[in-house]
Symmetry: C2
Subunit: 540 residues, 2 copies
Amino acid sequence: MPATGEDQDLVQDLIEEPATFSDAVLSSDEELFHQKCPKPAPIYSPISKPVSFESLPNRRLHEEFLRSSVDVLLQEAVFEGTNRKNRVLQWREPEELRRLMDFGVRGAPSTHEELLEVLKKVVTYSVKTGHPYFVNQLFSAVDPYGLVAQWATDALNPSVYTYEVSPVFVLMEEVVLREMRAIVGFEGGKGDGIFCPGGSIANGYAISCARYRFMPDIKKKGLHSLPRLVLFTSEDAHYSIKKLASFEGIGTDNVYLIRTDARGRMDVSHLVEEIERSLREGAAPFMVSATAGTTVIGAFDPIEKIADVCQKYKLWLHVDAAWGGGALVSAKHRHLLKGIERADSVTWNPHKLLTAPQQCSTLLLRHEGVLAEAHSTNAAYLFQKDKFYDTKYDTGDKHIQCGRRADVLKFWFMWKAKGTSGLEKHVDKVFENARFFTDCIKNREGFEMVIAEPEYTNICFWYVPKSLRGRKDEADYKDKLHKVAPRIKERMMKEGSMMVTYQAQKGHPNFFRIVFQNSGLDKADMVHFVEEIERLGSDL
Amino acid sequence: MPATGEDQDLVQDLIEEPATFSDAVLSSDEELFHQKCPKPAPIYSPISKPVSFESLPNRRLHEEFLRSSVDVLLQEAVFEGTNRKNRVLQWREPEELRRLMDFGVRGAPSTHEELLEVLKKVVTYSVKTGHPYFVNQLFSAVDPYGLVAQWATDALNPSVYTYEVSPVFVLMEEVVLREMRAIVGFEGGKGDGIFCPGGSIANGYAISCARYRFMPDIKKKGLHSLPRLVLFTSEDAHYSIKKLASFEGIGTDNVYLIRTDARGRMDVSHLVEEIERSLREGAAPFMVSATAGTTVIGAFDPIEKIADVCQKYKLWLHVDAAWGGGALVSAKHRHLLKGIERADSVTWNPHKLLTAPQQCSTLLLRHEGVLAEAHSTNAAYLFQKDKFYDTKYDTGDKHIQCGRRADVLKFWFMWKAKGTSGLEKHVDKVFENARFFTDCIKNREGFEMVIAEPEYTNICFWYVPKSLRGRKDEADYKDKLHKVAPRIKERMMKEGSMMVTYQAQKGHPNFFRIVFQNSGLDKADMVHFVEEIERLGSDL
């Protein structure tokens, strides 16, 4: 395509771009080389408006676009997307969203102008999970320091498996995992650990390590000729325990669910009964997964008592503190996880209470070397033993991924930015907000707590609209109340004013679960949530 | 701490920041509210120099820092980090790196100035995997469009499991996975699929789906009472097949490794022998994992023939095209994967040949619904069935993760930017470079090919230093040659001039494997690699 006008200038600029290192090499040695190799083609070809296909950043071609994109992101996603004056989302039904956004990909190349429009639409129609009024999940917030570190990770595009490819991140993981183990209470921070893509996978690693320790032959021989392995977790535990037990060939039936008390905590006497039952059945109990911070209620299983049981029956104690682990950095609240230092393994996701960007999940182990023992296959092409540096820093063979993102940087950088004291203040403020919100609704007509005294920062409650108040004894009360939360949720989604989730559990009608992690929220926000739910449900 | 001078102004600014929505609500209804709830504390507290602990971006506090950070990243990582004039890495031994960088985290909060210094050090001492001379792994490049999309993903911080939380990314995944299936050749693009954190996990999903289809009871009951499951893959296949088979309770011994021919392709007659052997043993063969683009040699297993065998024995055919899948977008090169449309499942990582940022991996299935059937647990708190929208868009129960990054955006955005034609040009250029490089070394003294005619863009070769030339028949030739690649690798790492890996395989002494994905490379770069290796090894 012939270049014209402005394009021609750009082409000229590109052609005149200073010689690269390879150019220099080429000219110094050119004649000799051309005796042996075909002549190289010119480096640059004319650039027309649509973007080039080449995967190498070029300042002249890309800097303006990159900066304009950052402008869009800072303005629309980071600042306006977290501004209380703006909506959390612009709800669109799938069909409508398909009309508003051209999702098709098999077209011609785009121009930078078109791409900026595309980018704006992606931001516009995405839910602003960093918005103060997004209290829908066990994650929220767009932490500015976490964000910078994510952006750095992307710009460096590393994979953490060998020291030669990821020197900084290998050492950084070592430090952060050790510090986290020390906070858990493992002696001297010793043990093992891994950053992995989400708490579910972390729980899966725990099952795998427990199983390996129980019977190392499993790694080679598999489960088919073994006794039936059984593990125990509470009925309120995260679904990943079942899911990963199934994935790992143990089967969901062999996850024995232990009853919880009215506040959602594992009933230890039932645990003992179920262990005894499994033994009577001739099965092989090998692991208990306690939960520190359940998904819905935010309950903490009694770890000390469970640890005693595990000790007696020689079972691996895993603590799924994906959600609750954040409380460990607070002197005031870490008592919730009392006994966690007795665990064999702990899942702790800094992307939940500590608001590191998605995903930042860890499995921490009290035992050294178990990850590698359970998972290594010694791939010769990646983990060569004749390297010139100490290959103990090639950590990649201990995980089940091959390439692995450097999820450590975001958390390390946030920690560096705020200090341990800052993380502690963050956690304490989130607890204060949750306490304040609880106090608000406890004394307010139309609100009713599901758990009178929440242990954590999930608050479960019903909003009882005026038409249902004082009618608890009527036969259809529960059915009617069951429909309230979904209707209010629909309204808040369609207005985009806030996002909070609901669910039924244990025979209860649907109730709201509001969850706090964002320390940028304040007491006025708590009041806002109360009033917004009242406003949305006023006519129900 | 009392605020002074500039800080005082900032505090004043913050206090005067326009009232938020919650302020507005508060003032309109204030009196009524305070009858029922405690009085909220003031929103802002004085800001001293060290950063605030709060997880909410604030334009006044953070914009300058965010923009300065982007400046560092664009300058040092994106542009200078990929400039041929600069080094690929600054090698430091672990101990030295620990001295140069303060990895410690348990200190006080930092200032923005300190954090910028920290950020610069992270960039400085990280390997520049986007540098044209980083040809060490099956990934490289920092694609500018992929990068923008990653930055957008981070700014939005989504998790792809429900339509309510990730409307844009749910629909985007649907489109991209369908298009990828169509390119694979699945009829009408129909089937199932998932973006997952790396090709190893994708291969793990394939094993899980194959196993579930073989015997759906496994999901609930596990493997303990079943016949011994056996799967087959070549001895050159990626180690993740063994690793995930072990993780999933099948055991590494039950991955039967099939011989490869001299060019690294699965020997189909040996496959048949091994299937027959497993049947004689009373085991239960259920799956073959063929490889399209092996890790070291870049070989393509003969999929058509393997598909015939799978059809005969009723085995699930998986094709691990994590690395080779990129060739499918090229009319010229897709013949390498002939027959892939007969696969039951395909792993294809756009983060490899197509240079999407890490991680962007997919599992594509010819069968609809199998992922959910194999993995769903119907968690009631997340996948409520009484939502106001069509819950078929809540895709999260089909994967084993709970939270899941929106890895689709980067690839979708690159595809949108370059068009399918751009992706094709990218692939064709990478092949051309590989071909050119091969031609260079074939005719050059001191270089010897491991595989005379490479099928793909991994080129395996020895550099034979002058002292060893013409001495092939001597007894210690192989031992001496074995030490050459590690020594040259050490030198290039210490100089930071390039990065290419080496390994021994099949009794061969260590050989180099150079891998191309970055279409920003040109023929002059190919010449540079040849000459750089000669320079580094000239005195050996």
